[in-house]
Subunit: 144 residues, 2 copies
DNA sequence: TTCAGTGCAAAGCGTTTGCAGGGTG
DNA sequence: CACCCTGCAAACGCTTTGCACTGAA
């Protein structure tokens, strides 16, 4: 967690700043947050943190392997901490509900592609479709 | 195909225009094209087609079920005709190569989620990772 | 003749970049 | 005290929207 941060930054000759600590913490607390949401959360604690800092920091944190991002909508990506167990995102396009599944869900897929030498990035995977409630409620799925 | 277009438009009280025909044809010919690429392709044949028309038309075509879109990068989406067999996209984040796989690849996944009543949108699925060549060439994948 | 569809221009959203000043190591 | 990091503001890429005109049915 945050101790990792100081250490991993140092390994890369990068610096530990309050912003970087706050942004990492925000991602950990919010679970699945867009850069905008991260910014808002950080600003609740310290005003005058800039959006560009959030973008730059999320990029650094992702390079350090401390956070990951996925695309759960056609809009902004969502970031989550790598502290959580790796998981696969399943998204209902109708009600926008997001469920997390164990990576075992896609194990057959991962194995099949491994035969071709392809390494699947499971944490990035987002599976879209229509959930039970929504397919019951209505018959015609609409595009995202 | 294009005959479908006239018919499906009529069913919805919508109109058949040269732009709509050209845009659908462009998507069919280009296989996997961004709105921008579709625009460029259409303009090769008829000048003064507007970007907003392309966006509006792709939306209509998708509602009619004639085209589909996927996200093969963090940038613009790509559209393809539903004439082609449904396929799953596998994308190497390193070299950006895109391979299409038979939906059978994800059949176990689809079946597992079907148990929960979730209907997977297979055509929208994009699986990211590192291809054989790239994982051989280098050891540290970078985020998209 | 009606009203869906278009082009145009402007605005929108999310993100990136150049720069000068500030703070970490 | 070097140089990484930040805030600010402007620019960027992609997409959406308002409006008046055009043209399909």
């Amino acid at each position: 967690m945050s101790d990792d941060l100081a250490q991993r930054l140092r390994e890369q000759g990068l610096r530990l700043t309050p912003q970087r600590q706050l942004i990492l913490r925000a991602v950990e607390e919010l679970r699945h947050a867009t850069p905008d949401e991260v910014l808002a959360h950080v600003r609740d604690q310290v005003s005058s943190v800039n959006a560009s800092t959030v973008y730059r920091t999320l990029e650094v944190l992702e390079e350090l392997g401390l956070v990951r991002h996925t695309h759960l909508s056609d809009r902004a990506p969502t970031y989550h901490s790598t502290d959580e167990h790796e998981h696969v995102h399943v998204v209902c396009r109708r009600c926008h509900a997001v469920r997390s599944y164990d990576p075992g869900l896609v194990q057959p897929l991962v194995a099949a592609l491994a035969d071709d030498g392809f390494v699947v990035d499971v944490g990035h995977l987002a599976i879209f479709g229509t959930c039970a409630d929504c397919s019951a409620a209505d018959e015609q799925p609409r595009p995202t």
